[in-house]
Symmetry: C2
DNA sequence: TGGTGTGAACAACTTCACAGCG
DNA sequence: CGCTGTGAAGTTGTTCACACCA
C-alpha cells in the first residue's frame, strides 16, 4: 500500500472517471465482482493500467478474485471527491448550456446546478426546471457569492468568455469549466479546465487523413 | 527538416487545433507575424513545445523573426486535413445535438453537416436550418451511403449509442465522434473518438478536492 | 490456483540549451 | 542580434513480470 496522495498522473484521473461509468453498467448487468482483465475489456484500458491506477490510492481488490463492483465504485467516487455536493452554475443558456443543465449524470456525480445566467434580455426570467430562473449576467457576482457556488460552467460565445470568467472569479468561484472556443485566463488559485469540442473533431479529421494518405 | 509523417504525439495534434484558434484571433488583432514566445502566451503552451510541435511537419518560421500568422494557420489546417470537405451527420437531435448542428466553427474547419437523425417520431420531419430535415434513425444506413457521409457524431442517450454506431458503420462511415456517456465499439478500420463531458467535470472536482485537502 | 499489487524496464512526451540562419 | 529548429537530457506515464496472498 502506498496511498501517496501526490504525483498522480492526470491521465489516471481521467480514466477513474470512465471506470465509474463501467462499474455502474456492470452492476446493472449483475456482476457483483470483476477482474481487472474484464473491466479492462469493458472500458478499453489494459488490465495492468487499471491495477496501477488503483494502486496509487490503496488496495481495493481481493487477490485471486477481483474487485467488488459496488465498493470500488464508491471508493473511486470518494477519491474524485464526487461524494461532496458541488453547487454549480451555468453561464450562457444556449443549446449547449441547456444540454448541460438537463444532463442527469451531473447530479449523480454530485454537481447540483443552482443558477443559470444569460446576457440576452429575452431569455432572462425564463423558468427552467426545478425552480431555476435565468438571471442576467450582471447578477453573476452577487449570486455566486450569495449561493456559495463553487463551480462555474461557461457556455457563452468566445468573445464573452473572458469577461464572464472574471465575474465568476469576483464572486468567489473555485473551479471553472470553459466550453467557449477560446482559452480564458484566471488567477492560478482557481482550478480551470478548457474543453475544446472542435479540437476533438479536428483530431478525428487528422487521423482519417493519415489513414487515407497511408493507403 | 524532417517531415517524418509518423510517430507524432497525439498531444501535439490536440495542440495544433488550439494554435489555429489563437492564430485566427491574432489576425483579427492585427498581428501579421508572431514569435513562439508570444503565441505560447496566447494559447498557454511553452514556446519550446510550439517549436517542437511544428518541427514534426516542416520549417514554417523565419529565424530571428517568427511565424507568419496567416500562412501558419493555413499550414496547420493542411496538416490536420481541414482543407478537405468532410460530409458529416449528427444522430440524436437533443439539446447537445442541436448545439453542434448550429456550431459555426465546424463549417470553418471543413465539416459540413448534411444529415440529422432522431428516433423520436415527434422530431422526425422537422426542418432545421439550410434544408436539413430530421430523418428517422431507420434511414441512417441508406442516407450515409447515399450522401457519402464520412463522419458521424453521436449525441444519443447511452443506451442507444452502440446500435447507432453499428448502423453508421453499416452505411460506410469512416470516422465517429461519440458524445454519449458510454464507450462504443467499432471495427478497428473506423476512426473513433469517445468524448466524455462528465469526466471533465469529475476531473475538476478531483483537482478542487486536492487543493482543499492540501490547505 | 488465479488475480492483485508493485518495483523495475520501457516508451512517450516535454524541456533544455545551443547551433544555425535570416 | 534574435528567434527558429533540433539533438540530447530530463521527466512523466505505461507495460512487464513476478512475488504474494485469498
Amino acid at each position: 500500500m502506498k496511498t501517496k496522495e501526490c504525483k498522480i498522473p492526470e491521465a489516471t484521473i481521467k480514466r477513474l472517471s470512465t471506470y465509474i461509468n463501467c462499474l455502474e453498467r456492470l452492476q446493472v448487468e449483475n456482476h457483483p465482482v470483476i477482474s481487472s482483465e474484464l473491466l479492462g475489456e469493458y472500458c478499453q484500458v489494459s488490465p495492468a493500467q487499471i491495477r496501477k491506477d488503483l494502486s496509487y490510492f490503496g488496495e481495493f481488490g481481493v487477490r485471486g478474485v477481483g474487485y467488488d463492483t459496488k465498493k470500488l465504485e464508491a471508493e473511486i467516487k470518494e477519491i474524485l471527491g464526487l461524494n461532496n455536493n458541488w453547487p454549480t452554475c451555468v453561464v450562457g443558456v444556449g443549446k449547449l448550456g441547456l444540454a448541460l443543465l438537463n444532463f442527469a449524470l451531473f447530479r449523480k456525480h454530485g454537481f447540483s446546478i443552482t443558477a443559470a445566467f444569460d446576457s440576452d434580455p429575452a431569455k432572462v426570467g425564463t423558468e427552467l426546471s426545478a425552480g431555476i430562473t435565468i438571471q442576467p449576467t450582471t447578477e453573476i457576482e452577487q449570486t455566486v457569492t450569495g449561493k456559495k457556488i463553487l463551480i462555474g460552467i461557461i457556455t457563452t460565445p468566445a468573445d464573452a468568455a473572458q469577461k464572464v470568467a472574471e465575474q465568476l472569479v469576483a464572486g468567489g468561484i473555485q473551479g471553472l469549466l470553459n466550453f467557449a472556443p477560446t482559452k480564458v485566463k484566471v488567477p492560478e488559485e482557481i482550478t480551470l479546465r478548457n474543453v475544446s469540442i472542435t479540437s476533438e473533431l479536428d483530431n478525428l479529421a487528422y487521423l482519417m487523413t493519415q489513414k487515407r494518405r497511408r493507403s
